[in-house]
Symmetry: C2
Subunit: 446 residues, 2 copies
């Protein structure tokens, strides 16, 4: 075959980029597990009926069918397009094997048959955290889940040089209670207009509320004022109160949102604001909603979103409310890698190449490599016996910092740091590279 | 919906079983990286034309098509059925970004539209290691690749209580040279009969060689005698020589296979034998071939196989020979988990649950948890304020070893080992669980 072409919408990383992705996934897993979340993987396929129930997303599903199936027979399976629908099915199917409340994280690829465009992928990796419980799920989990997600994203910022994030949080019951207190019943219709605030501005939104939803100009003004409130601490509560609306559901929403903001300011300072215009997934979430932007890269859109859903899964007898967030790993990383914001210090795990001047040395070189590996030092033996310069070039092309010389030559072995040129005597039983050279590191690019 | 049913052939693990799988995958990754292999992931789909080229496997491919595609239009993508075909395509597509010889490992799910049966899966995880190089690939890589694979499998045995393995190795050039030395040209026809040795015995194979392949009875006897030779050291060479056949290709094969056996006996003693009846993938491999059984579980079949392929990939100008092995992670683990051979010491990552007697304590409990997590101790806060017994039960159901009491109560905190019942004063800034309790461990079941 001639050189294959890339498939649009199916990004593939180079080995160096993959090292960045691996370290990102490692940090996410570490933080999720520190918070007691257990890993789950679900099969890649679900019955098309389960996937199609989600309504709108229907057209984006990839159907899967054996090539050897009867011609003309209908496909009955599809690739999952998110990790929430499969998780809901997993909870119902395996409920008898799970301990509730069930805390799970799930890192897998998902597929959507979208028309490819900038920032849209047909195959991408998501990292989800959710808690579900049969019957009722206490409100404090609405506070915990964004903390876990922010702790994970903060770890990427501190350890791996990713930009910091800002999470915006709102509560649908707060809005619903406020509108009810104003005498407006159709929450969804109002939110649909309020959602346009950033695009068309407060005046146009107020006009649309009057013209399309049929509220009074005074009601419309109050709705717009509510939506423009945002704060990094609990001061938003007084600003909402100052609008003079009262309702029990509003109180409940204010209290919960204040708890989220207050807890966040202690746990991950500066990374979360209450923002009362956030609407997200109008028909899906039932309480707190979250979205997250990457500071300095806001045009990338939300890189982590989620919320509370009061009926994630139901088997007819038991309903499982849940709350959770999803981090768009591919959506986050591919643009940052493409823009050179992040890179790995080398393209291979190898820290040391053991050089050979003749093939006869290979067993001795293998023995040196084995001793280094026993102590956790990633080591390769040179692919061929070659002169000094060629061995150095082999390491240099891959960013491998050290070349080992003299294995099996009966004299003292030596190891060369090819960056500084320093060459020193070394014993394979004791020599260690500096800790920062042991594994490739992820650093800011440029 | 009512409780969903499992899909046959798509195994899903419980959270506890998934901990076993994660630790298996962690160990494989660690060993591959210690040997300098870089991780690659390829997209899940390939053009059907690329997949169909592999001939026989054709019927087992899952085709993928957007639900919204034109009715009646033909699918042009399929899910990959192994990691070798996608890797060959990746090498051709990204050759300009790779450094050769290119050492890669790849751990991903693959899909086959097979009729499900015992030990066959429609979705399963493989872990592959391969080295490829444009033009020519030195023979010492035929020795290195089984060493890496055996080191990885040995790590699973030593660290995670999996059974030990036995790898059987042969060389197609050895057989081809031997047959040529006997005056037989159709190597494939002979191997096809020799492959039946274990099933039908030497006499029937010899008869088939005469009847079906048309060799003389003396030639048939020599072929059968060759196939019955096996040894854990290089002594097989003398036994082959004693058959009195000589040929340059035979010499070459003997030398390489002796090198594999000798190196293995030093690097991973007792885990590899030369076995001259191993045929594997008749039309595919061109040199050394490997297959591996789990000692005590031989009926599971080969759990790691591979070989040398002299034309893994070609873009018309450049050909890339390669050598590699694949570990069938699902094929290996699902039966062992099902038989209870392996289990995890708990079903969650959590080492400590911080108990609450009132909801007012939650912020103080969160603070204790945060301090423990800062020091790498996986910690949850109890989902609800409850009495002593209920908190213990919460931990016990999940296998969590420690429960923390007294957070924010103004007195000294205490931590209880719920297995022994020991309760001792503890400071969240300094207390540590015993190292073996920090993370779930994988242990022999039963």
């Amino acid at each position: 075959m001639s050189r294959p072409k890339a498939l649009s919408g199916f990004p593939e990383l180079t080995p160096e980029q993959r090292i960045v992705e691996q370290q990102v996934l490692d940090r996410l897993r570490e933080v999720f597990e520190l918070h007691g979340f257990a890993s789950v993987e679900t099969r890649a396929v679900e019955p098309l009926g389960t996937l199609a129930k989600q309504g709108e997303i229907d057209k984006e599903v990839y159907a899967v069918q054996r090539v050897a199936a009867e011609p003309g027979s209908a496909a009955d399976l599809g690739l999952h397009f998110d990790l929430t629908v499969p998780f809901a099915r997993y909870v119902l199917e395996h409920a008898h094997q799970l301990a509730f409340p069930f805390r799970r994280y799930q890192v897998q690829k998902v597929w959507r048959g979208e028309r490819p465009q900038e920032g849209r992928y047909r195959e991408f990796t998501q990292a989800d955290v959710d808690i579900v419980n049969p019957g009722a799920l206490p409100a404090h989990f609405d506070v915990e889940l964004p903390m876990v997600t922010l702790a994970a994203l903060e770890r990427l910022h501190v350890d791996l040089a990713l930009p910091p994030v800002l999470m915006r949080v709102n509560n649908r019951r707060l809005a619903q209670g406020f509108y009810a207190g104003l005498g407006i019943e159709d929450t969804v219709a109002v939110l649909r207009q309020v959602d346009k605030l950033d695009k068309i501005g407060p005046d146009r939104v107020a006009a649309l509320l009057v013209d399309e939803v049929g509220v009074t100009p005074a009601q419309a003004q109050a709705c717009v004022r509510l939506a423009t409130i945002s704060s990094a601490d609990a001061s938003f509560v007084d600003r909402v109160r100052a609008l003079g609306v009262s309702d029990p559901m509003l109180d409940e929403g204010l209290e919960l949102l204040a708890d989220v903001v207050t807890t966040a300011s202690a746990y991950v300072p500066g990374r979360l604001v209450a923002d009362l215009k956030i609407a997200r997934g109008l028909d899906y979430y039932t309480g707190t909603v979250y979205e997250t932007e990457l500071v300095g890269h806001e045009s990338m859109g939300s890189i982590s979103s989620g919320g509370r859903y009061d009926s994630l899964a139901s088997d007819g007898k038991t309903t499982y409310p849940g709350v959770g967030l999803s981090i768009g790993v591919t959506r986050l990383l591919v643009p940052l890698l493409g823009r050179g914001v992040l890179r790995a210090t080398r393209s291979v795990p190898t820290a040391v190449v053991v050089a050979l001047t003749t093939e006869d040395q290979r067993p001795a070189a293998n023995a040196v490599a084995a001793r280094l590996r026993e102590r956790g030092i990633p080591t390769e033996v040179a692919p061929e016996a070659a002169k000094f310069g060629r061995q150095i070039r082999y390491a240099d092309r891959r960013g491998i910092p050290f070349v080992w010389f003299g294995a099996g030559e009966g004299e003292t072995d030596e190891v060369k740091d090819i960056r500084s040129g320093d060459q020193t005597p070394a014993d394979p039983a004791t020599w260690e590279p500096p800790a920062e050279d042991l594994h490739p590191r992820v650093v800011a690019g440029g």
